[in-house]
């Protein structure tokens, strides 16, 4: 029987990937799920677990939803449009 990935580890992995690619690539929630499954293997994480991990990250405020055409998951920051020109 394979070891399931604890949700805390999943959260950390999701957070790290968003942080690593911050400013370079926008991850949609579905992209993050696919990344996690690729990283840990389909037998160790499920889509539902990825969804729960993302929910925790959003609810804790470590990551936020952003919308630029489509919805992505980002590190919290002051958005460009909010700044004075």
């Amino acid at each position: 029987m394979v070891d399931k990935v604890p949700i805390e580890e999943l959260e950390e992995a999701m957070y790290n990937i968003v942080k690593e690619y911050s400013g370079k690539k926008k991850f949609k929630p579905g992209d993050l799920t696919k990344e996690m499954i690729a990283q840990f293997g389909e037998d160790r994480v499920t889509k539902k677990e990825c969804k729960d991990a993302l929910k925790e990250l959003i609810d804790s405020g470590r990551l936020v939803y952003g919308y630029y055409g489509g919805t992505s998951v980002e590190l919290p920051h002051v958005e460009g449009a909010a700044k004075d020109i």
Partner: protein, 452 residues
């Protein structure tokens, strides 16, 4: 504003020096004629500032023209609100500027929202906040509307009181998504507004790549043609898919619309990714005495009903109306003309259609039939199973900003139908008898393919 020392700074913004000598922007300062200012260029023509305790009306010659004519004008409403709300007043000013310069002055925000939710708030900022400080942030909140848009006056007052307290007071009832839309909030006002809404039992709707707030027609509440309870189904879907509504996880937006009958008063066939259109599969009910009544009152059934039937499946035999129900395509024309005489059958349900959308990334699409007939009854298990299979497919195969209709066009309806476990049916094809791309394998003789 007595006792304040005012200075003009490059004509951009009015400021004051406070008692400690710090330069502070003055809130609620109003430019009497902002259109004469060129704020970003060097050619500042005029620096006529006006400050007062009362809000001074802006000059809006271009917008005033929109008040002419017999129609109600949003400009009139804006002006009314501008008398008490600085945000509305600055909105008028910015809009006038947009009309003058023929360009918009909004910047699209993407991050603002309320904690935990990825939808429901659409960020807007002014790119001319120097001129219009009260609309520097002017976010939109979508409030999940009631099913069928039924409100008590008490509920409407409650919503308006909350919005008067936290925002511009301007609303859009209802937005094209169906939500009760609050227009114009500061970033800091979003959480308190959301808190007041939830305390009163309201919630935000959808925005972004999520399930948008499901909407429906009046259904059985006011319409005798309703073939299922659109109101209940909409509420049920909304409550079942709260995560999908508030936590965007799709590749792009997803819209449900429930129409009670083929009249499709909510235009679900054109404006939703998944349309649930009420229908029936037995015979149209005919009340021959009511038919006679229509004839007695002078209705020309031959020209107004029979000749307009797209399938020519109606006839009048000695004042008795006959319908060949096998050929009927449920266009609703005869029922609409003679509602007292004709009723939908008793075996009611809905047709499920998929792929409708308005043009944004690609052109507009009308929905295609996915399930010709489905019983729509609580707890809607068959429907929800279908939806989840479709979402699974879309999640796996959809690309960024691709609606389900576009995804189906890309992969092919046949592949899509097979992937979600449905049997292909002639009803899925427009004009199946004439379509050269559709083959009925069971009609092919053995070896016929090889010979070709």
């Amino acid at each position: 504003m007595k006792g304040r020392k005012d200075i003009a700074w490059k004509g951009v913004r009015k400021q004051r020096i406070d008692q400690w000598g710090h330069i502070k922007p003055i809130e609620n300062d109003f430019l009497l004629n902002p259109l004469l200012l060129d704020i970003r260029g060097s050619g500042i023509e005029r620096k006529e500032y006006y400050m007062a305790d009362e809000i001074k009306k802006r000059k809006t010659p271009l917008l005033d023209e929109l008040e002419e004519g017999p129609w109600p004008s949003f400009v009139t409403d804006l002006k009314k609100m501008a008398e008490k709300k600085p945000k509305a007043n600055d909105l008028l000013g910015q809009l006038e500027l947009s009309y003058k310069e023929k360009k918009g002055h909004w910047k699209h925000g993407g991050l603002v929202g309320v904690a935990g939710y990825g939808g429901g708030v659409i960020g807007r900022y002014s790119d001319s906040s120097e001129l219009f400080p009260n609309v520097k942030a002017f976010h939109t909140c979508r409030v999940n509307q009631t099913s069928g848009w039924f409100y008590t006056t008490e509920a409407l007052r409650e919503l308006c009181d909350i919005w008067d307290k936290h925002g511009s007071g301007l609303t859009n009832v209802h937005g094209s998504t169906g939500d009760f839309v609050f227009l114009g909030a500061d970033t800091d006002a979003l959480e308190p507004c959301f808190s007041d809404l939830t305390k009163a039992g309201w919630d935000l709707g959808g925005s972004g790549s999520d399930m948008r707030t499901p909407s429906c027609c009046n259904g059985p509440a006011r319409c005798e043609f309703a073939c299922y309870d659109t109101l209940d189904m909409t509420y049920d879907i909304t409550m079942t898919y709260q995560d999908e509504l508030h936590r965007p996880a799709f590749v792009y937006k997803w819209k449900f619309k429930m129409a009670g009958c083929p009249n499709d008063c909510v235009a679900s066939i054109a404006r939703s990714d998944l349309a649930v259109i009420g229908t029936w599969r037995d015979n149209i009910r005919i009340d021959q005495s009511a038919v006679k009544e229509y004839l007695d009152k002078g209705l020309n059934i031959t020209s107004d009903v029979i000749m307009k039937c797209p399938k020519q499946c109606i006839s009048l035999d000695r004042n008795e109306l006959r319908i060949n129900n096998e050929d009927c395509v449920k266009c609703m024309h005869c029922l609409n003309v003679m509602p007292k005489a004709l009723r939908p059958g008793k075996d009611k349900g809905a047709t499920i259609l998929i792929g409708g959308k308005a043009p944004i990334m690609e052109g507009a699409l009308l929905s295609s039939v996915l399930v010709p007939f489905m019983k729509i009854e609580k707890p809607y298990t068959e429907f929800k199973d279908l939806i989840e299979r479709i979402w699974e497919f879309w999640d796996e195969h959809g690309v960024s900003r691709e609606r389900i209709g576009e995804c189906i066009q890309r992969v092919g309806m046949g592949n899509f139908v097979e992937a979600i476990g449905l049997e292909p049916l002639p009803e899925m094809v427009s004009s199946p008898r004439d379509n050269p791309y559709i083959f009925y394998e069971e009609y092919l003789e053995e070896g016929e393919e090889e010979e070709e």
